[in-house]
């Protein structure tokens, strides 16, 4: 038990140092812009389908589930604003981050672990390229940039799904639905949501890269790395979300 605790704290410390190294080296040259753009494309564009599909379903499900209760109380007109706030403040960022933790976090972890096993990272170092700059900084930065974009995209698709249900069941037009959503949804609701997404992106990128960079046990380790990258980054998403909600709550109280 004591040994496991020691390993846990050691790992947490190492991961924090890894994150700190990213912060320190982030602005230092050389800049790998081409690789950063490639990673943005891979992380952003290739996640659009999955994020869009889950967002759309979530919008539909949320509206269908809340509708009967609100109809019973005669509060049908509250559905757009309620669903809008729930999606933008909470469900959109967390759902998108969890999907990205699964898809991007595991992908980065497995890719880097495989590169380590096949000595590609050593080959990079031998050829005079800093692997941390080329592999880690580009991937984590791409996650930080693309997560908020994906969250906004997911929010829009979720609201579209919700609007579709309202159109079919409540005969509410799309324009009226959007107008209702923005009656209650403030710009200040978007700021914590986007800020959260930046931190989610950072956590997913750092965990994936750290796990890949420190992968052991050959090819067997690649699978383990992908698995633990998903588990740890998903857990971190919830922890960060909890902290973000606490901080946001303080601001709402002011």
């Amino acid at each position: 038990m004591l040994d496991r605790m020691k390993v846990y704290f050691f790992e947490t410390g190492q991961m924090s140092l890894f994150g700190w190294r990213f912060i320190k080296e982030f602005l230092l040259p050389p800049y790998e812009l081409k690789e950063l753009l490639r990673q943005c494309y891979l992380i952003g564009n290739k996640s659009l389908g999955l994020v869009g599909a889950t967002g759309f379903i979530m919008g539909i499900v949320l509206t269908l589930q809340t509708r009967p209760t609100l109809v019973e109380f005669g509060a049908e007109s509250w559905i757009p604003s309620m669903v809008g706030i729930a999606i933008v403040r909470e469900i959109g960022p967390v759902l998108t981050a969890l999907i990205c933790a699964g898809k991007i976090g595991s992908g980065i972890g497995a890719e880097l672990a495989s590169m380590k096993v096949t000595e590609q990272i050593d080959a990079m170092e031998v050829s005079g390229t800093n692997p941390f700059k080329y592999l880690v900084i580009t991937r984590v930065t791409a996650c930080i940039i693309m997560l908020p974009v994906l969250v906004v995209f997911s929010d829009i698709i979720s609201l579209s799904g919700s609007a579709l249900v309202e159109f079919l069941k409540g005969k509410v037009t799309f324009q009226l639905y959007i107008s209702n959503v923005f009656t209650y949804l403030q710009f200040s609701d978007l700021i914590p949501s986007i800020t959260k997404a930046f931190f989610f992106g950072f956590a997913i990128g750092i965990v994936g890269c750290y796990k890949g960079f420190t992968s052991k046990k050959g090819t067997e380790g690649v699978g383990r790395t992908a698995n633990s990258a998903v588990v740890i980054s998903s857990m971190l998403v919830f922890v960060l979300d909890f902290i973000a909600v606490l901080i946001t709550d303080i601001f709402y109280d002011l």
Binding site: T118, M124, T129
Partner: protein
């Protein structure tokens, strides 16, 4: 000495004295010594886990040594900073055991990769010319736009060698260049190592388990046993040895 090869015994390019390297309580190298001369190929043989790959990773600076003297092209590897080490690495090529080609890049991009940071060394020569020339040197000019997954094991080794050659190194470190290859392809790679030595006058350390490769490529052989250079001589002399640890490699 092999025909067409000139070894300058007055010009050591790698000097190792009393090199020690441990991983925890596992003492891998325990006072290893070696001198590699300009234009010379040395084959290092030893059991699995005897520290052969550790040795060349120390030479290229991928691993730090615990104790001893390690000089490459007149520069003490443990004492130079990261920038100097990067510069030194442009003169020392490293051929990885599994080729270590970047999976996500084409052959051309793999070859261009080392030039990104060290273009000044070959300033004035168009990148495309360098890529084509390097691939022609290993007989794979037609593979320039292929992906690593489309290449056979032997082709991967050749492309990795082309990637090493593109920087025009003075020393090449080969980590098991024929491992995982059939005897015919293995022999082709061994002959290619000799061809490179002859054409570019490079010095090389060839880490190998393959007796055929050692026989073809080596001007001198070292048996690494129990963390030290147990014995060293030419292939033919070691082949006649009656010493048990040496005989074990040749029977």
């Amino acid at each position: 000495m092999k025909p067409g090869v000139t070894i300058d015994f007055n010009k050591p390019v790698i000097e190792i004295e009393d090199l020690w390297k441990s991983f925890g309580t596992n003492h891998v190298l325990k006072g290893f010594n070696l001198t590699l001369h300009q234009g010379e190929n040395i084959a290092v043989m030893g059991k699995s886990g005897s520290g052969k790959s550790v040795l060349i990773k120390c030479i290229i600076g991928l691993l730090t040594i615990d104790k001893g003297k390690l000089t490459v092209l007149g520069r003490s590897v443990p004492e130079i900073n990261h920038k100097e080490l990067d510069e030194l690495r442009t003169d020392v090529g490293f051929q990885f055991q599994g080729s270590a080609l970047y999976d996500s890049m084409t052959v051309r991009e793999n070859l261009e990769f080392p030039l990104r940071r060290h273009r000044e060394k070959l300033k004035g020569i168009p990148v495309n010319d360098l890529v084509v020339e390097s691939l022609e040197n290993v007989g794979l000019a037609h593979a320039v736009d292929m992906m690593p997954e489309e290449l056979s094991g032997g082709m991967k080794k050749r492309v990795a060698l082309a990637r090493t050659l593109i920087m025009r190194p003075k020393i090449i470190l080969y980590d098991e260049p024929t491992s995982g290859l059939d005897p015919v392809t293995g022999k082709e790679i061994s002959l290619l190592i000799n061809e490179i030595q002859e054409r570019f006058q490079t010095a090389a350390i060839v880490i190998t388990h393959d007796l055929g490769c050692a026989k073809i490529t080596s001007d001198r052989m070292i048996i690494l046993h129990d963390g030290i250079n147990y014995t060293e001589s030419t292939y033919s002399e070691l082949n006649q040895s009656t010493d048990e640890p040496v005989k074990a490699f040749f029977t």
